[in-house]
Amino acid sequence: MVDINFDRVRPPALLDLTGISELAGWSCDGGVIRLGAGVPYARVIDELGGRLPGLALASRTVGSPQIRHRGTVGGNLGSASPAGDAHPPLLADEAVVETESVRGTRRIPIREFFTGVKRSTLAPDELIAAVHIRQAPGPQQFAKVGVRNAMVIAVCSFAIALDPGRGRVGTGFGSAAPTPRPATGAEEFLAAELAERGLWESRGPLAAATVQRFGELVASAAEPIDDVRGTAAYRRHSLAILARRTLTWAWQSYREEGRRCA
């Protein structure tokens, strides 16, 4: 709509999908949320904060209340911007994108969805119908750097999701590579550390060196550039900080959860 307002594009036709009720809702089946592509961020925050805390946190940093009433996770995926706020938690949660076309339905793992700057595996005639996300099996966190705390495109962003049941760690970062990306090296390192030290079971404190190394590995997965929002060096540096912080918060939640259950 911005491009039309500024006369940068004159599409021959516009298709309004907001009236299609199949896209406008979410459902939960077997612990997996099917989030319709047309569900606005405001509803993700209000209705799914408990089940999808990482995505809800990220949604809360999108634009302003006005924007969050209109913007959707489906639209974010369609734009496939490296800075899209929803992408890091979707990567951390290993979500699956459901697309529709006359050829049928496709399910695309999120980690295979992004192919380049604002490019994805979506075919020209395909429509994003929904995204499937497992109900959070453990603590999740999201953090974003911007020049303001509202109405900003991320300078960089990071999401973490802990899955104690499977002993896995999920990550995703934004605005620090041509596409949103998981930091797989950091995921594997942390999962191995937690397993070797028996920390999933003991819920003991994380060693400072572990947290430090996790941050370094996240930063090393980035391929940032200098641009108007920040330098590559700043992005790498702040990404390591976001990774350490979110890990610390998430692990703290996991430990507190354990105390409550004990």
């Binding site: 709509m1 599409p11 309004d16 302003s64 966190q141 702040s238």
Partner: protein
């Protein structure tokens, strides 16, 4: 195309609407409702904020055709026949209006906040108004106005003049000169920097830049 919708409770029809036209253009140029302001046309400033099906949106980002069959409420639809909406009254009394261009959008955004949260805290006010830019006031009076409207709604300050009310509590004039830090506490503060212009320091307020993550305080899920 023809667009039929409800605007401020009345049926409205517009003919020969171009498909790429915004709801803002429809309201201002076709339906004679210039209260919603046209400023940035890219959803940044909030001056065109209207209710669409009861939710505040930027009218510049909604295609006119998308409101077919839906209900729109603009700033013109907030006041009664002879009496201002409480938020409008409070903006006047608190001196929250200077040039006035951002005011309609802020009134709608503040009205929405008070419908949802009758007694909002400072962080909630700032988060709710984060999408509305004002280049005159420095936001302090605007935030005062929202507090005043909330207080009047709850009856607590019904008989107190605005100036007297302002001189007490969190809205003290002294707070204006403190860049950021003092007001950045509590849940929700992380997403609430609506007052970015208050110190004239733009992006350089302590805690705003660098490694301060917006997600830190905003989610309430920790």
């Amino acid at each position: 195309m023809r667009v039929t919708c409800t605007v401020n409770g009345e049926p409205a029809v517009a003919d020969d609407v171009w498909e790429g036209e915004s709801l803002l253009f429809l309201l201002r140029e076709r339906l004679g409702l210039p209260g919603s302001k046209n400023a940035c046309e890219q959803g940044e400033c909030g001056s065109c904020t209207v209710y669409l099906e009861g939710r505040p949106v930027c009218a510049c980002l909604v295609a006119a055709g998308q409101v077919q069959g839906l209900a729109v409420r603009t700033v013109e639809g907030l006041a009664g026949a002879d009496v201002l909406n409480p938020v409008q009254r409070a903006f006047l009394d608190a001196g929250a209006v200077q040039c006035g261009f951002c005011t309609p959008g802020l009134i709608v955004a503040a009205d929405d906040l008070l419908r949802r949260v009758p007694s909002p805290g400072e962080a909630e006010i700032r988060e709710a108004l984060a999408g509305n830019l004002c280049r005159c006031t420095g936001y302090e009076k605007i935030i005062d106005a929202v507090r005043l409207a909330a207080a009047r709604q709850s009856g607590a300050a019904a008989d107190q003049p605005a100036a007297e009310w302002r001189s007490g509590g969190a809205g003290q004039p002294g707070a204006t000169g403190q860049p950021g830090a003092a007001r950045r506490s509590g849940p929700g503060a992380g997403n609430s920097a609506a007052a970015g212009g208050q110190s004239g320091a733009r992006a350089s307020r302590p805690g705003e830049t660098g490694d301060s993550p917006a997600g830190q305080a905003v989610g309430g899920s920790r």
